[in-house]
Amino acid sequence: MKIYIVFILIFLSFSTFLYGQNNGFMGKKNFISADIRVYAPIIYGLSTSDANSEYNKTEGPNFAPKSNLLDYGFNLTIGRAASRNFGLMLQISSSRYDFAVTDNQYSLDASNFFNTGDYYQVLKINWLKAKVTTVMPIIEFTGNSGLLPLGLSHQIGLGFSTNKLLKDDYNVLIADAYGQQFIQKENLYDYSSKGFKSYVFMYKINLRIPINDYLLFNLGFRYNVNYYPKVFQGLNSSSETKYLIENINLRDYMRSKEFRNVLSLETGLSFCF
């Protein structure tokens, strides 16, 4: 072992730091990545009073509990290592999540939907499902010794998202002014309507480990901050509405879920060429 110590000292005295031209991964600088994204809505679950509660699933006429342990998504990314330690990427991602319509009494007034002159109140709604599609340009950078697309890197992205409610067999429990309760399943939402826009800022620490001469295994932790600009939608208090969920300010509930989606795990494969 002594000879190794001697060698190390010799190497350190003679070696110059070599960060020359960018050879990429075995000469390949472009890559396409496909990753799955998984996140556990722990913070949302803890901070939402109705999370994991009876609002989630309908069993016959009753609303039965069901937990929301994981949300997931899929990313497709194309990128190029512009230099040894700087790269550019464009990412299209799609993910889905469940969210609760919680106990905001004002939002849950359904009188306009029935338009009979009587008061109707939404008592319970199943958890709703939403799909978010994001387009995001990303910059990727490493320290001095980087060799993109290989190895440990940092990514920062600012993207644009569209959140849409997914079609499903939702149940809404409604009570009229006389205390009669019934389940409404029809005309809940206009699924052809435009989604809600939001902006996403993302930081990710990512590791790419080579599998063979073309494929890299990706593993990363992604931190998100979502911003939903204000929109005037829902809370239509003066006129008849065609769909029941139009009366509910979906944007706030979606924002509430996405805002708590801070950390997610992403893993997948990159093909280099």
């Binding site: 190794y4 010799i10 005295s13 003679f14 620490i205």
Partner: protein
């Protein structure tokens, strides 16, 4: 005195020193990027045919050398050199660990000779040295068909270090949750050092010091060596 001033050897030496002074003046005028560019150019050498001398690997665990893992890492390192040089069409001949059984006593002597030369150079790096066994070196150079020796060593360690200040994030648990995976990802530290020694003038002509933080794997080492050898080699 006038004889001395007019002598060819004196004039040549004067020119050499003048050039060094001029180069230093020019070097001071250059910005960092230009200096690096020149340095990279100077760091290049022809290694289309080279002798890899006893590539070494050391793996540390809990502050001590892990001999079993070091042995496995040496094999990976040897194999990676072969693959990287093949991909770059470089002719590589190995002397040292892994093939001494095949090369026998002659191989052991060659390895010792090269190692001694390196140590001799390291002890006298500012002087022109006269190699210990000059004639034998000449013969070995002819046998191998090259005068370029490559010495390289890889060191790896894995240590998970939690920052004590980061635990202040306990006041905001989501941030602490976000911090927790980072020490595990950043725990790997690998360093590859490589030098190219030219036997013909007993000088170290190129070198590379290179570190990375992904888990050490055969393909990962291959990619890094591909990059190092590609950057050093002048002939593409």
């Amino acid at each position: 005195m006038s004889d001395l001033i007019q002598s060819e050897s004196f004039i040549n030496r004067c020119d050499e020193l003048k050039k060094i002074v001029d180069d230093e003046k020019t070097d001071k005028k250059l910005d960092k990027a230009e200096r690096e560019k020149i340095k990279k150019k100077e760091n290049k050498t022809d290694i289309s045919n080279f002798i890899l001398v006893d590539p070494a690997a050391v793996s540390h665990k809990k502050g001590k050398v892990d001999y079993n893992v070091s042995e496995e890492l040496t094999e990976k390192f040897n194999e990676s050199f072969k693959v990287a040089s093949e991909k770059l069409n470089l002719k590589m001949q190995t002397v040292g660990k892994g093939n001494l059984a095949d090369l026998g006593t002659a191989g052991f002597n060659e390895k010792s000779l090269f190692t001694t030369l390196l140590i001799q150079i390291s002890n006298n790096d500012k002087l022109d040295i006269f190699p210990v066994d000059y004639s034998y070196l000449e013969k070995v150079t002819e046998d191998f068909g090259t005068n370029k020796l490559v010495f390289s060593i890889i060191e790896h360690s894995y240590k998970v270090e939690f920052s004590s200040t980061a635990f202040a994030l306990i006041v905001f648990p989501p941030m602490l949750l976000g911090y927790l995976p980072l020490p595990f990802i950043l725990g790997n530290r690998t360093e590859i050092n490589l030098i190219v020694l030219d036997i013909s003038n007993s000088k170290i002509t190129s070198g590379a010091s290179y570190n990375f933080r992904e888990p050490v794997s055969k393909k990962g080492i291959q990619a890094r060596l591909y990059d190092i050898l590609s950057n050093i080699n002048t002939k593409k």
